[in-house]
Amino acid sequence: MANDDVWILGIHMTKFGKHPDLDVVDLAAEAAMGALNDGGVGIKDMGVLAAGCLMMASAGIGQQLQKQIGQTGIPVYNVANACATGATALRTVIMAVRAGECDMGLAVGVEKLSGAGLLSGGSRKSDDDTWTRHGRYGAVAPVDGRIGTETMPGVFAQIGMEYGHKYGGTSFELFARISEKNHSHSTLNPLASYSKAMSLEQIMGDMMIAYPNTRPMCSANCDGAAAAVIVSDAKLRTLDPDQRRRAVKVSASVLTSDPWEESCQVLPDVNTLTRNAAKLAYEQAGVGPEDLDLVELHDCFATAELVHYDNLMLCPVGGAVDFFESGATWRDGSKPVNVSGGLESKGHPIAATGIANVWEVAHHLRGEAGDRQIEGATVGLAHVIGLGSACGVHILEKAAS
């Protein structure tokens, strides 16, 4: 009997890194065609398309992609949701399929960020000739650097430090060791932007960006795309045995935003909405954190990974430092986290990230992850967060047969 389940039929990510000869449409097309081929279907089988490219949010990347690979007249949703853009595109297709509007759909995320450098300090422009009030706070001069920091490395540094203040045990070295783990993991990922191990000394001795985050502890700007084909349970049952065998079940698909918290008015609170998303995802999937064989979480900075161990309930409340110190999150540990190398090594082409992490988990569940395969993986979780905030959590399960 068919049910409400939805499945990933095909999924693909491009190599993350520098693609000077490809534009965003080329990259999106490569990912989309890859996902369709992986699923053994074509663009004419798709009933819906959701696409995101955060840096070109008003460019209609979905329609541009259609012109590149096939214009079929289906509804297109161009989505933008900060770093959760890819997860939002995926969830948009999942919702359309669950709602019965169509039985298959395509989600795509793409970004070109190589060479983007420090895209920071949005409010900091040169001072005017006269002090004149502007904007919501009546500021007479740019406030970035005068009233705290607006740069992401600085914001996420404070998020990690706040955890340390609350529960203790954090240090520059601890955060650097999280980065050491992810850079080590990346050596097994041929699609990562950077796949070289880095020693603790190299990481701590590299250029300081925002204490305690040095450069290799920050996510890597790069180009890349990822795409997934979602299929309904009823449709999947009509497909070939090999397609059914490789299909990955979407056991939970959750998107949350910030509930009101006192401190989130001045420093983004990435904790509450992530915990809320995780709780809901575990409920939907009927699994608990203890059932997860691997986790891809949003390590946009080393300081962020620590707090998400706790937010995703991989450890007891306040226990993230001990959890990491136990070695659990290394690939040979009890709860491997970011075996892809994470955003710090694999890279963070923003809108692609929320589908690429699902690709990573799906790859392991299919037993196709090659040298970095987590043996016997049957359940995995993919998490992203975009500031503002939006949090996406997907729990995936291996096909039963």
Binding site: S114, T130, R136, V140, I147, I209, A210, R215, L267, I350
Partner: protein, 199 residues
């Protein structure tokens, strides 16, 4: 090093928390019941009790035009921050709201925020946008239950001099004068201990 290209070429994701361009430029038509009070251009005594709050520097005869960096900073003898507080639930906001983000009620009152606080989180920014002097200490300060974003000032910007839980107090500083001779006054938080030792 090797595999991380220089930042100039760019390889790290360092997006802005918010873009000033996206902020509303226009003054609001307030749906709420309280009157917006701006500190505006007002006459204050020079010195305005900056670092140590002493009043003897105040040159009564040397009045100059001053303007605060943001409209939620108020000067006078005892500079302090002001917030818009929801009359129903007490949630505080440094900017305007049509309805309380916590409880949805629409009545607000202007309240003073405690000037003493504790550092709940900090970072030392060493790499920032062009024009932002580095390093500087950005922090989240807990002022008697109200979280405030600010720089830590009058302290060395290194991990040996800044610590989590450090007790701090509001202090002001000059951003300089504009072409009309108006002086802009900013704020930050300085260590309480250094102040006490200095006495």
């Amino acid at each position: 090093m090797g595999h991380h290209p220089a930042l100039g070429e760019g390889s790290r994701t360092l997006l802005t928390e918010e873009d000033e361009e996206l902020r509303l430029r226009a003054r609001p038509i307030r749906a709420t019941s309280f009157t917006w009070i701006t500190t505006g251009n007002v006459k204050y005594g020079h010195g305005h009790g900056s670092a140590n709050g002493t009043s003897d520097e105040r040159g009564g005869d040397q009045l100059s035009d001053q303007i605060t960096l943001v409209d939620y900073l108020e000067l006078g003898d005892d500079p302090h921050l002001m917030a818009n507080e929801c009359c129903a639930c007490g949630a505080k906001f440094f900017d305007r709201r049509n309805a309380c983000a916590s409880c949805g009620k629409t009545e607000f009152q202007r309240v003073r925020v405690a000037g003493d606080g504790e550092v709940r989180a900090f970072t030392i920014v060493s790499y920032a946008a062009p024009g932002v002097p580095v390093p500087f200490v950005a922090a989240l300060v807990d002022c008697d239950g109200t979280s405030v974003r600010a720089n830590l000032i009058n302290v060395e910007a290194d991990p040996e001099h800044v610590s989590l839980g450090m007790k701090v107090r509001l202090a002001t500083y000059s951003l300089g004068e504009d072409s009309n001779g108006t002086e802009a006054i900013g704020f930050g938080f300085e260590p309480q201990e250094a102040h006490d030792n200095g006495k």
